[in-house]
């Protein structure tokens, strides 16, 4: 009779919740940027009547998101371990590469959204 370890060698186990956050790090940051930027500038325009504040909110949240995304790319191994992933070489390389690619995909989305500040005036009715 075969033993369990032949099929499922013992080793460090990735955290389930951690893996989800690790994999979705980029898109979650993008979602956070969109939410804060959209909600923040709407409030600044409608209740504060302050285009400068609206612009500032979008710029700050975009900059923070870009720093976090870039930080992930530079220190991916640390981020992985902080999110419950086993150390290399036990870590699943496919998960690593998907997480990295999702961050790379989120970078232009964040940058693109934030760049709108430089293109149009805040708080002016679109139509």
């Amino acid at each position: 009779m075969n033993r369990h370890d032949d099929f499922f060698p013992l080793g460090p186990k990735p955290s389930t919740t951690g893996t989800i956050f690790y994999l979705l790090f980029g898109p979650l940051l993008w979602a956070g940027q969109l939410t804060v930027a959209y909600g923040g500038h709407t409030l600044a325009c409608v209740r504060g009547s302050s285009p400068e504040l609206a612009d500032a909110i979008v710029i700050v949240v975009t900059a923070l998101a870009l720093v976090a995304l870039t930080g992930f790319l530079i220190w991916q191994d640390r981020c992985a371990r902080a999110l419950g992933q086993p150390a290399l070489p036990a870590r699943d390389r496919a998960t690593d590469s998907m997480a990295r690619l999702l961050v790379v995909l989120s970078l232009p989305a964040v940058l693109w959204g934030g760049a709108t500040v430089g293109l149009v005036a805040a708080c002016v009715a679109g139509r």
Partner: protein
Amino acid sequence: MSDFRRSLPNPETRSEQEVDELLRIWAVPKGFRIVTAVNNTVIGLLYIGAAFLFFLLAGVLALLMRTQLAVPDNDFLSQDLYNQIFTVHGTTMMFLFAVPAVEALGVMLLPQMLAARDLPFPRLSAFAIWAYVVGGLVFFSTVFYDLAPKGGWFMYTPLTLKEFSPGDNADFWLLGIGFIEISAIAGAIEIVVGTLRTRPPGMSLTKMPIFAWSMLIFAAMIMFAFPAVILGTMLLEIERSFGWPFFTATKGGDPLLWQHLFWFFGHPEVYIIFLPAAGLVSMIVPTMARRPLIGYRLIVVALIGTGFFSFGLWVHHMFTTGIPSLSLAFFSAASMAVAIPSGIQVFSWIATMAASRGGFRITTPSLFVIGFLVVFTIGGLTGVMVALVPVDYQVHDTYFVVAHFHYVLIGGMVFPLIATFYYWMPLATGRLLSERVGRWVFWLMFGGFNIAFFPMHITGLRGMPRRVWTYPEGLGWDALNMISTVGAYVFAAGVAIFVVDLIRSHLRPANAPQNPWGAGTLEWLPNDVYSTRSIPFVTSREPLWDDPTLPQEVRGGHHFLPNAPTGGRETIVTSAIEAKPQYIIRMPGPGWEHLIAAVFTAAFFLLLTVKLVVPALICGVIAIAACLVWAWGLDPGPSKGAVEIGAGIRLPTYESGPSSHSWWAMVVLIFVAGSLYVAYVFSYLYLWVVSPQVWAGHGSPDLPSAVWPVTIALLAIAGSATMRAAGRLLPDPGTRRATPLLLIATGSLGLIAAVALEMLGHWQSGLRPTESAYGAMVYMQSALNGQLAFTLFIMSGFAIARLLTGKLDHVRRVSFDNLAVLYYYVAAQLLVGLLLIHGFPRVAG
């Protein structure tokens, strides 16, 4: 070949009696009892059949519309009937065809692709399907009685308010579609837990077939998108029935709130439909190219990216509503960003085709895949055009948009669906469809589609608005409309021939080869009603290509769980990330409960629509009773002990707490409830931004004193502590104890008291829900909390009944764990609500 192949989980010769036992256990009921079946292969076929029927019915409505529009000044249809027809056409295609069709494919194909005996909640799937079939047929039939809604598939306010849409027509949409959305959520729970917990041993997340990935993302998107429109339909129905002015501008409401809620669902809905179709294409292309998909990781990344980005686009449906320009630019950028992941998938498919081994095989499924690539790419490009705000201003609500979304939806979903029929038909019925007829079908559908819809781009650019029932001649639209109508009939001819071929194939013997296309994924393993004889150990993404002996090994019972050790329906539950075996899930067999629950749930909503309140309530009680009877048998307890599945692995046959599948399902349900509540918070803040003059202290009575929220908060916190104590004091198996019973009852009643106090506090302050949007939002919060408290009340009664009958103890405790986790969530929502309702107006001033 990997090392593990040197040995198999069950290398010894297995008895054929095990197969007989599997056949007996998984047998499909015969005769009229087939309606009690829960096997995924049976209910999956019913589901896809019903969805396709709705496609045909809505298609007939489309032909009626095209006939009306063929020539100017036509009076083939009246204006009123035309309005009903375009509303029912759009609603049916989106809610009764597209989403159910892909959900059906998930129910039908996922267990086979994951080599699971079935998904973890087969009765829930069956319930969702029957509720959808009954409710969908009743909803569609309204078009025959002049009772169909007329407000378009998006039912914009204020047109759909009682003042402008009297009668029950709009209510049929709101209540009918509302509960079909609930059916979709039930399906989504099944798919999320199924893909994460019933994969075969060894199939880690990153080895999962792309279709399973796409279904996982599809179901996750349903969890977060559908609650927004469920809240929207609740608000609109309450305003229509009771006059709470959420959307009435004169009382501080805003019709645009409906658009926000609708499109927060409606735009992701497009991708909810498209992603599974893309997943199907990602399965067909490698088979026809005879090589693994190029860019598997990139495609997964693209699916996840699309799923996320699709939630940041909803405002692009509202570009012309007077939104600040920065918002427009923001959503315009996001709308263009979503083209990147879609492009990644298209290039991966093209690269896989180009790198085919021995040339890309041109079969009927491949033709439909190629047609999909062409049509969907054109739709995607016009999508980028309408994402540009100035272009959208010009073409908004014109036939250009009609052309765009039909290119996306028919290209992105219908073409892959027909490819799916041709590709997976041998799996479902053991029969191949005709390749010769299939080519006729493809060219008629592809040609007819482009003849019908390409001219609409020009018709739209020439200014023809959507939803007009006729038009005067001489505006440059006459010939284009005639061409579109001819194309629609050509397309319909293709569909008709497909249906004939479908029927014809059933007259032939079921003699298709086991793996007719030479595919590499698990659904093509030898299978029967019990799925595969044994559940394979998986080490690659195309196991059938990498291990040609796998079918024989699986058929011989040499992999995991080659028998039925508990004597009932069961499958292996594995860990969510690495797919290591964890325990055996015991699943229910055929029964009437889910069917009764579905029929009476449908009846409850539909009778409510026509204001037959008492019969509706009776049906509601019967539906709840059926659900309770159904749930009574779902917690079998650990009586079967641990069983051997192979490789010396013994697994428990019972699990409770965070590792159990039922706990996961409850957490998914809590995410749904949380999404609905977030949509409510958004609505509250949105209306405050729009109409601060009706808020407390301005146009409405002052807030109740702080004693009220403090008392309510204490009740919620004390109730949670009570529930926690009840969990710790559950009796030992075989013994009884009264304390947990009293604690559960106290906790449940405490929560109901908290909700009642919240309403009473506002009522005594003089606030009324009908007087302003603020009052309506305040009481709406209690309505949301109240329905959850009512659910907990029922669940508490259920747990108490199990305690009294000795079926709930500190080991056999699934029903209590589910109650407790939902209770903590509801208490937390109630506390957040207190901060919002009592704290926010004080801070915001």
